[in-house]
Symmetry: D2
Subunit: 107 residues, 4 copies
């Protein structure tokens, strides 16, 4: 049997994997970044056991292609999620580090 | 060589195919539908040759799963797009008809 | 600090969330199901800490739309993943239960 | 009313937009590229009015991240699609040109 702590960790990670692969590829620009951040947060907040979700997308990486916009990539993500399962809580993050969109348990 | 009219049609269809497959699967509910609609519209409006995009998602189909939310499906879409290429314009739509998320040229 | 066990759980869940949202919406039929299963397995097997991945898609749910095919939905998934982090191992699954594509820790 | 030619163009473009946004983000490597190509081709070939689809993914762009794999990006695509609507045929392509994953009508 998994513990509450393990389940809290499990649920946090599902959401990070999901939000990454659901939204990568979305056309985006510095002027539309906030609405996409809000949509991702709204989607994740509906999922089970989520108590908090913050998504920031790095506008400095939103370089314009020849048509004047960019595409959401893994490198842009800076997300923190909190889940609660029974009495246990997990806080985890997704952030680009050393050339990789790293997901890790914060506490 | 393709005509301006063919290119306007081509560009409209690219965006319909793209928005469908980018966002299907997104967690959604009646209370978050509008922010997802706005994010989809913001994404499509950045793409080349788009002059207008309207996305409505059918809240009546957002039935709650055991955790109280739904997932964006093709059946929910009601989208109209307008593109302009040279002097030509295309208006096209995505809407569920007869059991299929049909995309078609309106004019 | 997270334990190896927690990290193994975390890594398994990332992959389940990812594979779900990456591939939902893919056009599929009973005759192409196996190649899509293989592609999903090949993708997940590349990801860090994965030691085993099995993906089966329920052909009984691949009902034909008016154009003779179906779309990959969460209900079709039956996936089992194994991860190893340090000395710890996690086995987890994704399977439709009680109207929901449930992900859970098996051991 | 749209002509057969316009509808053939429309149908080709839908599929290019769809395959792009469905599969961008998929974990991939030089050793798994062919199975992903085959899965994309199998998915597109099911869609209405498609008579031919060829997808090649540029292995030279599959540089390894710290965990030894890559992710499918728009720059990797080299796809050609043929559609037939009534008596009309359309051939169109998706290929990276001048910093953009360009889709265009070939004939």
């Amino acid at each position: 049997m998994a513990t509450d702590r393990e389940n809290a960790v499990f649920e946090a990670a599902i959401k990070l994997g999901a939000l990454y692969h659901q939204f990568v590829g979305t056309p985006i620009s510095r002027s539309t970044a906030e609405i996409v951040e809000a949509a991702i947060e709204s989607a994740v907040s509906l999922q089970p056991y989520v108590t908090k979700i913050t998504v920031r997308l790095d506008k400095n990486l939103m370089n314009e292609n020849p048509f004047g916009y960019s595409e959401l990539t893994g490198a842009m993500y800076d997300a923190v999620i909190e889940t609660k399962y029974g009495d246990a809580v997990c806080r985890a993050s997704l952030k680009f580090e050393d050339g990789y969109p790293l997901m890790k348990i914060l506490e």
